[in-house]
């Protein structure tokens, strides 16, 4: 009896092979390959004395506490049991070989020199994950969720939300800190749509870059233990955005779609010690957070290229109708742009448009001005006319005339757009009371 060293392959020869084996011989080999492998044995050469039921000389093979057969004879012999090219595979990592020869090999007084056998064995990877390969019930690898075979071994893993335990086989629900950072995805209660386990303290966190708003869409079925009179006394699904709870759900009526307006959402799922509800599943997506639709403060404000929706990083430009100034408080603005921020607010509030005021017209030396239209003020499109103190002065104007209009630029301009006001020049040689000769 000789143990075979724990190798991955080898050969076994009958005593004296290739010389004829001796009589009255019992030889035993115990093949032992490393764990994770099985033994596969084949006979390269087999030449034993044939006999009925291999009564005289034989090779007996055993593995996994089972006889794999008793073999003798020669290739082509009518009696005996030649193994041929048969492959002997164990279920475990051991195989037992026994050779027995009787007292003679004579046939009708003639000694026949049977040469024996030469066998090869090799270690073949055992797929521990195949339940058919289990040797015994207690040895069957029982990964609770997933089994992964590799050459010489295997390992277990668990479904999402479960954690492999220290025994490397069992899985326990682990949902206390699930983090999602993709722009969209799915999350559900453990085992969904199978009933969720008891005593859960699940916390699912969705964290996206600033400026994005998370949208939660509940899928069917939606089923959480509830009570007719009391709100969610047993199990609760709580949704929080930026630390503020926006809803607590249970029952069988799906919450539908929820726009959180937040880039950070936490979903807490708490269950008690019993229940048989199927749980919930959420498909979350994200989009750029939206800002309120800009609304002009007055009828003179123009929002350029008004969009139907404004989202993070979008902007709008405001101007005023001709003759109006952009104002922020008492400050005149040359331009205005507002940008939608990551928190869904505009970085500046809407300005207003105020009518242009040209101020009081320049006084005309030796003259005056009058307002032509109503109301008589200095606002955009007001019109004044300059006059000189007649009959002592005469007005001298540019080509634009003596009427001035308050322009959109905030200046008084004549009909040619010029700002220079007329001049009053003295009228010469026109006495108010000229001498009058009466008597001739």
């Amino acid at each position: 009896s000789s143990p075979v060293p724990r190798k991955l392959f080898g050969e076994i020869r009958s005593p004296g092979y290739p010389k004829p084996y001796p009589n009255n011989n019992i030889s035993i080999w115990n093949i032992h390959v490393p764990k994770g492998y099985v033994v596969k044995l084949t006979f390269k050469y087999f030449d034993l004395e044939p006999s009925e039921s291999c009564f005289y000389d034989y090779v007996k093979i055993k593995a996994d506490k089972k006889n794999l057969g008793r073999y003798c004879g020669q290739l082509g012999s009518t009696t005996g049991n030649h193994p041929g090219r048969k492959e002997f595979v164990s279920k475990g990592n051991r195989m037992h070989l026994a050779f027995h020869s009787d007292f003679s090999n004579e046939d009708n007084g003639t000694v026949i020199p049977y040469r024996g056998f030469l066998a090869y064995y090799q270690a073949v990877d055992l797929d521990e994950c195949d339940p058919n390969n289990a040797v015994e019930e207690e040895e069957r690898p029982q990964c609770q969720h997933f089994c992964h075979n590799y050459v010489g071994g295997y390992f277990c893993s668990c479904r999402t939300g479960y954690q492999l335990q220290s025994d490397h086989h069992s899985c326990k629900v682990e949902c206390s800190s699930e983090l999602f950072t993709e722009a969209s995805g799915y999350l559900s209660s453990p085992e969904y749509p199978q009933p969720y386990p008891e005593d859960l303290r699940c916390n699912y966190s969705i964290r996206l870059p600033k400026g994005l708003s998370i949208i939660l869409k509940f899928l069917e079925p939606f089923e959480i233990d509830d009570h007719q009179q009391v709100h969610c006394p047993y199990d609760q699904l709580k949704i929080q955005a930026r630390g503020r709870q926006i809803g607590e759900f249970c029952g069988t009526e799906s919450p539908g779609s929820i726009e959180t307006n937040s880039n950070e959402v936490d979903i807490l799922f708490l269950t008690d010690e019993s229940g048989f509800s199927r749980g919930w599943k959420i498909h979350y997506t994200s989009e750029k957070i939206r800002c309120p639709q800009p609304v002009p403060r007055d009828q003179f404000t123009i929002i350029r290229d008004l969009q139907p929706v404004y989202q993070f990083q979008d902007y709008f430009v405001v101007s005023c109708k001709t003759g109006y100034n952009l104002m922020e408080g008492n400050r005149k603005l040359l331009s205005f742009t507002a940008v939608c921020q990551a928190d869904g607010t505009w970085h500046q509030s809407m300005p207003r448009c105020e009518i242009v005021n040209c101020g009081s017209p320049t006084d005309l030396t030796n003259g005056a001005f009058i307002y032509v239209n109503e109301p008589a003020n200095n606002s955009y499109q007001s019109v004044i006319t300059y006059q000189c103190n007649k009959p002592y002065y005469d007005i001298v104007t540019g080509t634009g005339g003596d009427s001035f209009t308050c322009s959109s630029e905030g200046t008084w301009v004549d009909q040619d757009g010029q700002v220079r006001i007329p001049t009053c020049l003295p009228v010469c040689g026109k006495p108010v009371s000229p001498i009058t000769e009466v008597q001739r």
């Binding site: 030796n366 103190n389 002592y392 002065y393 020049l425 003295p426 009228v427 010469c428 040689g429 026109k430 006495p431 108010v432 009371s433 000229p434 001498i435 000769e437």
Partner: protein
């Protein structure tokens, strides 16, 4: 003014009363210029009194806006910024009043009204105002019957043909070799006692341009031999228009 009439308010609103070297007259041009005779500023025969024009401007008194001297004074003096004397005027030549024209620039423009209005200058092409017999009017605060007048007077005088002026001068036996240049004209009568006199110098000889309806200054009271003893002689403004406009425009 000899043989004249008192002026009423508003008859001669351009009339200025000057007090530079004694009483004189002037006429308002525009709203800040006084046209007058150069000899009211630099009298002939003043000797070696070399006062600068800046000093004279500082001390000059100009009054506008009334027919009464007392009221004129009450209305206040119009300060003079600068004085412009025509370069042809020679204060040393007692007998030649050629270039007897000057401009005073007021420091502040005057506000026109019924009592203060400017006189017009003649059109450069119009020489009819100087034709023999063309009547004009001269106003002034000058001497009348040996007394200096406290009220503005005026007299109408006809312009006289140049030959008559020269002929009359030649006939004068006083022996004053007065020069009658082409930049002068004479007006008045030989026998009628109507004339300008001392104190009227600088006042303007005006005519009514019937075409435009405006009164136009054609001359400046300049010199004469006595008063109402013959013709009076006036600076011919028509010949100095370029000089006047040049100064007024440059100073603008």
């Amino acid at each position: 003014i000899l043989g004249g009439k008192p002026a009423k308010a508003g008859n001669f609103p351009w009339q200025a009363l000057t007090a530079i070297h004694g009483r004189g007259g002037g006429a308002l041009l525009g709203d800040r210029w006084i046209l007058t005779a150069a000899h009211t500023i630099l009298p002939k025969g003043a000797g070696g009194n070399n006062v600068s024009l800046e000093q004279l401007a500082e001390e000059a008194n100009v009054f506008l806006g009334h027919t009464k001297v007392e009221e004129l004074h009450k209305m206040g003096n119009h300060p003079v910024r600068r004085i412009f004397i025509h370069p042809d005027y020679d204060p040393k030549d007692d007998y030649n009043f050629n270039g007897d024209i000057a401009l005073l620039e007021l420091k502040h423009p005057v506000t026109l009204g019924p009592g203060v209005l400017p006189i017009c200058l003649p059109d450069t092409t119009n020489t009819t105002f100087y034709m023999d017999g063309h009547v004009g009017y001269v106003s002034g605060f000058g001497v009348e019957k040996n007394f200096i007048s406290n009220k503005l007077k005026y007299v109408s005088l006809p312009a006289v043909a140049r030959e008559k002026c020269q002929s009359w001068l030649d006939s004068k036996k006083r022996g004053l070799p007065m020069i009658f240049s082409e930049n002068m004209f004479c007006a008045g009568f030989l026998t009628v006692k109507r004339d300008t006199c001392q104190g009227d110098s600088g006042s303007v000889f005006t005519v009514l341009d019937t075409g435009s309806g405006r009164w136009v200054a054609t001359g400046i009271v300049s010199w004469g031999i006595g008063c109402a003893e013959g013709y009076g002689f006036y600076t011919k403004i028509l010949n100095y228009l370029d000089w006047i406009k040049g100064i007024v425009r440059e100073e603008r």
